[in-house]
């Protein structure tokens, strides 16, 4: 219950005005009783209209579960969701299935990590794009197919009219993700959630897809939640970044502020692990020593403490709260750390750098 404070600590309306999406104390628990596992723990953040917000963290920190909870796409059984998710003034969590169905794909859309398995293998591409338009815009099949071709063209798929009749296996990985983006943006949603949209793709294709996403959301004024484990992706795209660890937000800052002065040792580790041109390609990057398996429960202190180089005595005694950080380091920064970094680890001379060793 100590975490409840996050609600009060959260500065609302960072850029002024009503946020498009406002997540408060979102908590998702799988299972119940002694085997209950809290994958997302009192997560709160805002997304302003047209803003791009990053959700960053290692595998298993709860990024996908957060986004699926917002979309209400979690399995219908075996989990409990609490908190509020207000989207354009409506609490999505209190909507009925049918009401939520009307909003998904129209007002808020999502793209996923693996483009091949996310497309239906036995349905032509044109139908998979057109069905969104038919569902939400009441279009008939022929005009919907025509519009689908335009959308495919817009996301950079060559020869779109011919592609309408093709099947996912006939496309390359990058093209598939483009097609999924076309489906997600077909109804010009106000919010797009992209869950690691480039993880399954080649490096060169990754850059193309990110550039495309950036261009599209800027042109249409769509707000974007960008989920990634790679701060490098965030660098070119996000206005604001939430760093997640063990189901909780551990740091939140504007992009420039975060890169200039990471405060949480975990963020520092993530930053140090962004591949630089001087390094060899394809190295499996370990952001921080150890793994999530070393976590201690948040009730007993800071979950990150066992992996943290800045650990001090209090870290395993008292759970750190998410509180406003020093204002001179950036506006509206939040931090959950007893012993934050006082300098940017990347400013150190490369010889003294020890990350991942």
């Amino acid at each position: 219950m100590t975490t409840q404070a996050s609600t009060t600590a959260y500065p609302s309306g960072a850029g002024g005005g009503e946020p498009l999406l406002s997540v408060r104390d979102l908590t998702v628990t799988f299972g119940r009783g002694g085997r209950a596992f809290t994958a997302v723990d009192h997560v709160s953040f805002d997304v302003q209209p047209g803003q791009t917000v990053g959700l960053v963290g290692e595998s298993g920190c709860g990024k996908s579960v957060t986004s699926l909870a917002i979309m209400q796409l979690l399995p219908s059984r075996g989990n409990t969701v609490s908190g509020t998710v207000s989207f354009a003034g409506e609490d999505l969590l209190s909507l009925s299935d049918a009401q939520m169905r009307d909003r998904r794909g129209r007002d808020l859309a999502m793209i996923f990590q693996d483009p091949l398995s996310s497309l239906n293998p036995v349905v032509p591409l044109g139908t998979q794009v057109a069905e969104v338009l038919q569902r939400h815009k009441g279009m008939k099949n022929a005009p919907a197919q025509k519009r689908a071709a335009e959308l495919l063209d817009k996301v950079g798929i060559p020869d779109p009219t011919r592609r309408l009749k093709e099947y996912p296996h006939q496309l390359s990985g990058g093209m598939r993700q483009r097609a999924l983006i076309a489906m997600a943006l077909a109804c010009e949603p106000r919010l797009l959630i992209a869950d690691e949209p480039t993880t399954a793709l080649d490096v060169t294709i990754q850059a193309q897809i990110l550039a495309l996403l950036k261009e599209l959301v800027q042109d249409s004024g769509t707000a974007l939640i960008m989920i990634t484990h790679d701060l490098g992706v965030v660098a070119g795209l996000c206005d604001e970044v939430n760093v997640l660890y063990g189901g909780r937000i551990v740091e939140r800052a504007g992009r420039h502020d975060l890169f200039a002065r990471p405060r949480h040792p975990y963020t520092g580790g993530l930053l140090a692990s962004i591949p630089r041109l001087t390094e060899e390609r394809g190295r499996r990057l370990t952001p921080v020593p150890g793994s999530v398996a070393d976590n201690i429960p948040w009730d007993h202190g800071c979950a990150f403490a066992p992996r943290c180089a800045s650990e001090i005595g209090v870290c395993r005694e008292r759970t750190p709260e998410l509180v406003p950080d020093r204002p001179e380091l950036g506006a509206d920064r939040l931090l959950r750390c007893h012993n934050p970094l006082e300098s940017n680890p990347l400013d150190d001379a490369p010889t003294t750098e020890e990350s991942g060793a």
Partner: protein
């Protein structure tokens, strides 16, 4: 596609040729033989010798086979020397075959109509009453021998309660024209509604008995496939698009879940023909099953040859159709 079909038909031709050789040799190696079957107790050595010469049975088997093959390619499969004595063996087939097809068709129809929706709903409510109930039911369905089920159905619905006819394909003396020997189809074509209804009533019990195994198999495959497909990423994508439950079910779940079902239906055709033989016997249903049984008793080689060869041909053709259906619903399959 066309090349695939031609290639498969050529393969079928080779398979049929090999089968004909094996069949010919196997039938003639059966103990007993046609002469003793035909003459029975009254046979004298002289009359037996005469009959053997008449039927060409004294020639070496390869010579007999060559004679058979020569005629067969011209469409002449010999003349029955069993109960259909004097009738061309091929006629025995064409007269009786529609009955078996009709029976198998209705059995498959019943199986699919019930098994696919039930499989879907059982998967959606996994562990629920409907699911548990149908899983147990389908286990019983595979476990109970077809002929036993046939006897039970016949006893209850025909003998005991008199709701349905116990045997045959049609009430004797009913006014019915036969064109194709598919009785239901014939009656519909000639608009003899009474005859159609009568033929349908005769079909219900045997088709029900015969449908038990395909029903159970299709149910289990559908259920397992739907459970798998529901967890697929593309179903999540479909939900993320806000599609209606109906579109998700039809276009995104079932279209994928039916792929293994089509395969299994193809594989069931063989079992279905075997089951038809047993069912036809219980219900005195005049199909090839019954003709086969009698043919074996009397060592009616020409009839047996034609029936078994044709059954094999049907099996090959149906499986070809299944493969084509497979390519139609799954674009990843190239023929």
């Amino acid at each position: 596609m066309l090349r695939f079909i031609v290639r498969r038909l050529l393969q079928a031709l080779i398979a049929l040729f090999v089968l004909s050789v094996l069949l010919f040799a196997w039938l003639r190696s059966l103990p007993g033989g046609v002469v003793s079957a035909l003459l029975g107790e009254r046979g004298t050595p002289e009359s037996a010798a005469k009959l053997r010469a008449q039927l060409g049975l004294d020639d070496p088997i390869p010579v007999q086979y060559w004679r058979f093959l020569e005629r067969a390619v011209q469409g002449d499969f010999g003349v029955s020397n069993g109960v259909y004595r004097g009738q061309p063996a091929l006629d025995v087939f064409t007269q009786r075959f529609p009955a078996t097809i009709e029976l198998s068709f209705f059995a498959i129809l019943i199986a699919l109509t019930f098994a696919i929706p039930l499989g879907y709903f059982a998967a959606r409510r996994r562990g629920g009453v409907l699911d548990t109930g149908s899983v147990v039911f389908s286990l019983v369905g595979v476990a109970v021998p077809v002929f036993f089920l046939a006897y039970v159905l016949k006893y209850l619905f025909a003998v005991r309660w008199g709701l349905l006819p116990p045997s045959g394909r049609q009430t004797v003396g009913i006014n019915a024209t036969h064109i194709t020997n598919f009785y239901v189809l014939d009656a519909l074509m000639t608009r003899e509604w009474d005859a159609a209804w009568d033929a349908l009533k005769h079909l219900v019990l045997p088709a029900l008995a015969l449908s038990s195994i395909p029903f159970a198999v299709v149910f289990r495959i559908t259920r397992a496939a739907v459970i798998d497909v529901m967890d697929e990423d593309y179903v999540r994508t479909a939900r993320a698009k806000g599609l209606t439950a109906r579109t998700i079910r039809g276009r995104h779940i079932m279209r994928n879940a039916l792929i293994p079902v089509v395969t299994i239906v193809g594989l069931q055709i063989g079992a279905l023909l075997a089951g038809a033989v047993l069912t036809e016997k219980v219900f005195a249903f005049q199909g090839i099953g019954q003709a086969l049984a009698i043919g074996f008793e009397l060592r009616d080689y020409p009839v047996l040859q034609v029936l078994i060869m044709m059954a094999a041909l049907i099996y090959i053709v149906v499986n070809l159709l299944v493969d084509i259906a497979y390519a139609v619903i799954d674009p990843r399959v190239r023929l």
